[in-house]
């Protein structure tokens, strides 16, 4: 289980998280929703060690992991698909996948997982020797997900997995996210598309300006009036 307690993080002197507490329990798919700049991506970066919190604690299976390096945290089973450019464009598809297994040394297991990824994403097999930058946006996203899974994580964090994808691909990505959860992995997902995020997840947290302002099951959040107004199209300027 992953537990954050009172996490505070700043970019220079600007506070990004002001005491975030949340949990991801065994087998859960948890969504983080909120407007731009609410601190969703920062939360993921802090968990994966890309950012250091100034206060608060993170525990994973009861062990403190606050302030560990990304490498250490990945080694303990937490993989992160960061936002933005998702792949290494000049490395081949196969090299990108190998990057996901960088910390593993079980050659047979890596080969087995690579085969499993190719079986799940036949496109990646076809393009294995091609530079990842030549893939379409959707293919790059599949590659990013497959790369994260190549580390054999127990918790995967997806940052905006549907961003910039065509509607039919968005659906596909969400299917994969659910599939990952069904395999018994914990998932922590940041998603702008609040409706999709809430209908997929077991539980969700609503972030506003660096604080958790509401939490509950997906259905509970969907039913709450402020979430409806702000994120589910109730107001004209909704994100």
């Amino acid at each position: 289980m992953l537990r954050l307690e009172g996490i505070e993080v700043g970019y220079g002197r600007v506070a990004a998280l002001r005491g975030v507490s949340l949990e991801v329990r065994q087998g859960e798919l948890v969504s983080l929703i909120g407007a731009n700049g609410a601190g969703k991506s920062t939360t993921l970066k802090t968990i994966s060690g890309l950012m250091k919190p100034s206060a608060g604690s993170i525990t994973w299976d009861g062990q403190p992991i606050t302030g560990l390096s990304p490498r250490e945290i990945l080694r303990r089973g937490i993989a992160h698909c960061p936002e933005g450019r998702r792949v290494f464009p000049h490395l081949t598809v196969r090299e990108n996948l190998a990057m996901g297994a960088l910390l593993r040394h079980d050659k047979a297991g890596i080969a087995e997982d690579l085969e499993a990824m190719y079986a799940r994403f036949p496109r990646l097999r076809e393009r294995a020797a091609q530079a990842a930058g030549t893939l379409s946006g959707g293919e790059q996203q599949m590659l990013a997900i497959a790369r994260a899974l190549m580390s054999r994580p127990r918790l995967v964090m997806f940052d905006e997995p549907s961003l910039g994808l065509a509607p039919n691909l968005v659906e596909q990505v969400f299917e994969i996210v659910q599939e990952v959860r069904r395999q018994g992995l914990m998932v922590l997902m940041v998603e702008q598309n609040a409706l999709a995020a809430l209908s997929l997840c077991d539980r969700a947290y609503l972030l506003e300006t660096g604080r958790v302002v509401r939490s509950g099951t997906g259905a509970e959040l969907m039913a709450s009036s402020d979430v409806r107004e702000a994120y589910l199209g109730g107001r004209a300027f909704a994100a």
């Binding site: 890309l50 990304p70 933005g84 450019r85 990057m99 076809e126 030549t134 959707g138």
Partner: protein
């Protein structure tokens, strides 16, 4: 470019002293070769990690001074009434010392400077070279300051049956530079095609993503800097024993800029880029010398550079490679981009 082409190039170069035993041609090629080695080393940093070090001449200069001082010997006070004394050593010991000292400073600079990126990193590297130049100018007891280190012995080689042979002649110096250059090229090729190389490319392309897959970014940047500095140190050592006199000007900014230009025009991040760029910018000043007055030469030099950067922003080698029929690129590459995604 294929290995066959590469070895043909080396063979053609090796034949130059036999075919054109002209000492002027050879001296021009030898000094160009020394700078090409410098450019090859810079390319590892600039091309493959994307970090612009504007202090690269520092490693070149360190290699030159360390190698020269070890082969000349020295006897200096190091404070508290203690003295540090070294008897003259064979030149190959100096050569190795040049590589080691430059590599050690590469480690130090990497450890310090890679806490920051971008402009901050560039400024630190410039300062590093400037500080070393000041040290070389003012530590007269060790470096003779602006009076220069003179009488540096020529490079020597141990040959079976003949013992240690000093390399006085132009063809010998040229072959030595060609040999070291080939080794430097092969070393860099080995590194960039290894796990280290893939890590370097990954962190150049997306540092956040690289860290998130568990790459120790600073660790790899420091490895690249140490290797790059060591090779630059070897180039500096060759320079010292070829020219046989060095002064603090080896740390000058212009030497760094020359190497940067060679790498960028040739094609940074390609193995042959620094060789091609180095041949052009290493030979051109001398090729133009007979036919144009110096002022016109500098203008021609500048115009060529601007044209290259404008029309071949990725450098000559990628541009030429783009013209050749792509053998290893499978045809579906284009299809993948136009085809609708599944």
């Amino acid at each position: 470019m294929s290995a066959v082409f590469g070895w043909l190039f080396v063979a053609a170069m090796a034949a130059v002293p036999v075919v054109f035993p002209d000492p002027y041609v050879l001296s021009v090629l030898t000094s160009a070769g020394i700078f090409i080695i410098g450019a090859i080393s810079l390319n590892l940093l600039l091309g493959y990690t994307g970090q612009l070090s504007l202090g690269h001449a520092a490693f070149f200069g360190l290699g030159a001074y360390a190698s020269a001082l070890v082969s000349l010997g020295f006897d200096i006070g190091i404070g508290f009434g203690l003295r540090l004394r070294l008897d003259p050593q064979p030149v190959f010991v100096g050569f190795l010392a040049g590589i080691a000292v430059a590599g050690a400073f590469g480690w130090l600079l990497g450890r310090l400077a890679f806490r920051v990126r971008g402009a901050y990193f560039v400024v630190i590297t410039i300062c590093f070279a400037q500080v070393l130049r000041m040290v070389a100018l003012n530590w007269v007891e060790l470096t003779q300051g602006p009076m220069a280190l003179i009488g540096i012995p020529p490079a020597s080689l141990w040959l079976p049956g003949q013992g240690v042979v000093p390399l006085y002649t132009k063809p010998q110096s040229f072959w030595l530079v060609l040999g070291v250059g080939t080794l430097a090229f092969l070393l860099v090729r080995q590194v960039v095609q290894s796990r280290i190389g893939r890590a370097l490319v990954a962190l150049r392309e997306n540092e956040t993503l690289a860290r998130s897959v568990g790459i120790r970014v600073t660790h790899y940047l420091v490895i690249a800097t140490v290797l790059s500095a060591g090779i630059a140190g070897a180039a500096g050592s060759l320079f010292a024993h070829y020219v046989r006199i060095i002064d603090p000007d080896v740390f000058l900014f212009i030497y760094t800029v020359t190497m940067v230009i060679m790498v960028i025009t040739g094609g940074k991040g390609t193995l042959w880029g620094p060789v091609v760029g180095g041949l052009i910018f290493g030979l051109m000043p001398d090729l133009l010398r007979g036919s144009a007055p110096p002022e016109a030469q500098w203008i021609a030099y500048g115009v060529l550079m601007i044209l290259l950067v404008m029309f071949l922003p990725r450098g000559i080698v990628p541009a030429v490679a783009g013209l050749l029929p792509a053998r290893r690129r499978p045809a579906p590459a284009i299809a993948a981009m136009v085809e609708p995604a599944p």
